[in-house]
């Protein structure tokens, strides 16, 4: 039972990292991206590659994954962020779909549809991480570190600049903010740190395949951010916990047919998203949002 809880704990941490990093884009920069799962995947695949072929040192793997995801996101974001706000969603959607196709087809690097197996254990200073408890602590430590980084950054001037861009881009420009650069930096930060979730995920399961990095996952993470509360530090973590635990909780409700649990779960969080936007756009954690003036 305890091991089961640790297992759930690791997944909550992984998704909390994804949600928190996506929140930098959605909640703070106001840039709506559906490509987050793609960077989750990039992080995981790079981690697997490095761990198997180069070194399974945790530091090395983390560094390579975060850097790769960050740089790739910079390269993509620079041209992509030139389109208008509303259209960036579609661009991110296209990026997500393209990435999934690449994940499925680039057999040499990603193992194609079959994925990558036998990912070794992560090596840290005093040994390797192998027991469920150790993995949980690792995941928790990563979540804590990322929450700290994000918290520091968004509480300071960078956070204010991002929120200014989010709330009123033209006014931000009038005050000297380089909006394009700010959005690009936010994207790089967000995607780079999302790779950390990929690293933990790949190590923990020692097996990854493209199914975990599809549009469904992007949507799930987005739902976590929105339901938990975008634009707050802890909202995404709450959302992640809620939406990770939900399928487990649902399976205890006896009158629901087991085969439909997945659909019911999705239906419920779709419904939650709708109701949230109508009644409480700030999410569970967020305060009721004030009225917005037009852009």
């Amino acid at each position: 039972m305890f091991v089961y809880l640790l297992n759930v704990g690791v997944f909550i941490c992984v998704y909390a990292i994804l949600a928190s990093t996506l929140n930098v884009m959605i909640g703070y920069a106001g840039v709506f991206s559906l490509a987050h799962a793609a960077f989750f995947g990039i992080g995981a695949y790079v981690a697997a590659f490095v761990a198997i072929n180069v070194s399974s040192s945790l530091i090395a793997v983390l560094a390579s994954s975060v850097l790769t995801a960050g740089v790739l996101s910079l390269i993509i974001a620079l041209p992509a962020l030139r389109v208008r706000d509303e259209y960036f969603v579609v661009v991110s959607l296209a990026i997500q779909i393209l990435c999934v196709t690449i994940f499925s087809e680039w057999k040499g690097f990603t193992g194609g549809l079959g994925g990558i197996v036998n990912i070794p254990l992560p090596e840290i200073l005093w040994g390797s991480v192998s027991t469920p408890m150790q993995f949980f602590l690792l995941a928790l430590a990563c979540l804590a570190a990322i929450t700290l980084i994000i918290g520091l950054i968004v509480r300071g001037s960078f956070g204010r600049s991002l929120m200014a861009v989010r709330d009123n881009e033209s006014a931000a420009l009038a005050l000297g903010k380089n909006v394009a650069l700010l959005k690009t930096l936010a994207a790089a930060l967000s995607s780079g740190l999302a790779a950390v979730a990929g690293v933990v995920y790949a190590y923990y399961l020692s097996f990854i395949n493209v199914q975990s990095f599809t549009l469904d996952t992007s949507v799930l993470v987005m739902a976590m951010v929105i339901i938990g509360g975008s634009g707050t530090i802890f909202g995404p973590i709450v959302g992640a916990a809620l939406l990770t635990v939900l399928p487990n909780a649902l399976s205890y409700v006896s009158f629901l047919p087991q085969s439909e649990i997945g659909s019911i779960q999705q239906l419920l969080y779709g419904l939650a998203m709708i109701l949230m936007m109508i009644f409480r756009p700030g999410g569970i954690v967020g305060a009721g949002r004030s009225k917005r003036s037009g852009n």
């Binding site: 929120m163 709330d167 033209s170 931000a172 009038a174 005050l175 949002r289």
Partner: protein
């Protein structure tokens, strides 16, 4: 004379731009020449030639649709003109993006305010004081504290001292207008373009407003303000420029402009599309 920036930024800017003394010597902070812009068949502004004097408040008046806001948009880089030049302290602004123009020292407010509605009042002002886009600002903790103090001072001056922690979106109408002004006061801009900043304010607020503009002008800041209200125009203008149908049809001291019966008729008579 500049308010709201750290030592480092001020020194850096002074090194790259002409000093205040040189633009005072020529007296013209902004020189517009032959500026034109056409939008799908409509000539919004036409051959506009106008100089703004350093340290003076110039009112831009004219009927609706005369091109006043378009002129602001063109000067500040939101619109690219078809022809013409804009020189700010001898530097050309045409073709630069709005944020670069803002950092050079030309800043504007909007008719619809465009406040950062989901940020606190204090954060609105602080955001205006932190133009750099990197993850941190120069100067470290000391500069940070200095900025916070300055922000508090500005909020007090504009009557928003008690509202520092409140979300900008929850402010009353008058408070929002003052926050818009506070934001630009917090920058180190030397030229302000204000688009109907006082419209709809009650008389006591007007007075506070006028007082603030006057004191900024005394600090060497040049102001150009789009305004319809004759009381405000007569009370604060050092110069008036009259726009109609995209052209500058008159420019000069208030006495000269306001005593011209043709202009008064144009302003009150209206009937232009």
């Amino acid at each position: 004379m500049s308010c709201g920036s750290s030592e480092a930024t001020v020194t850096a800017m002074a090194a790259t731009f002409p000093t205040q003394a040189s633009s005072e010597a020529t007296g013209k902070v902004l020189r517009i020449s032959g500026l034109s812009k056409r939008f799908s068949g409509i000539q919004a502004i036409q051959e506009i030639t106008l100089d703004l004097h350093t340290g003076l408040i110039t009112s831009l008046v004219g009927p609706n649709g005369a091109g006043k806001t378009t002129l602001f948009n063109t000067i500040t880089g939101y619109i690219r003109p078809d022809n013409g030049t804009v020189l700010f302290e001898e530097h050309s602004l045409v073709g630069l993006p709005p944020w670069k123009i803002a950092r050079m020292g030309v800043m504007r407010t909007f008719q619809d305010l465009r406040l950062f509605t989901d940020m606190s009042v204090e954060d609105n002002v602080l955001a205006a004081m932190e133009p750099r886009s990197w993850f941190w600002q120069l100067g470290g903790r000391q500069a940070n504290n200095a900025r916070r103090e300055q922000a508090a001072a500005i909020l007090n001056e504009t009557g928003l001292g008690t509202k520092a922690g409140i979300l900008a979106g929850s402010l009353s109408y008058a408070e929002r207008k003052f926050l818009s002004l506070a934001r630009i006061m917090a920058t180190n801009a030397r030229l302000w373009l204000l688009d109907e900043p006082a419209a709809g304010l009650d008389p006591p607020s007007y007075d506070l407003f006028q007082g603030l503009l006057r004191s900024q002008a005394r600090r060497g800041i040049s102001v150009c303000i789009i305004e319809h209200n004759l009381d405000i125009i007569t009370a604060i203008s050092d110069r008036i420029a009259f726009l109609d149908q995209g052209r500058v049809i008159a420019e000069g001291t208030p006495n000269k402009i306001l005593e011209d019966p043709k202009l008064i008729a144009l302003y009150f008579g209206g009937g232009h599309s």
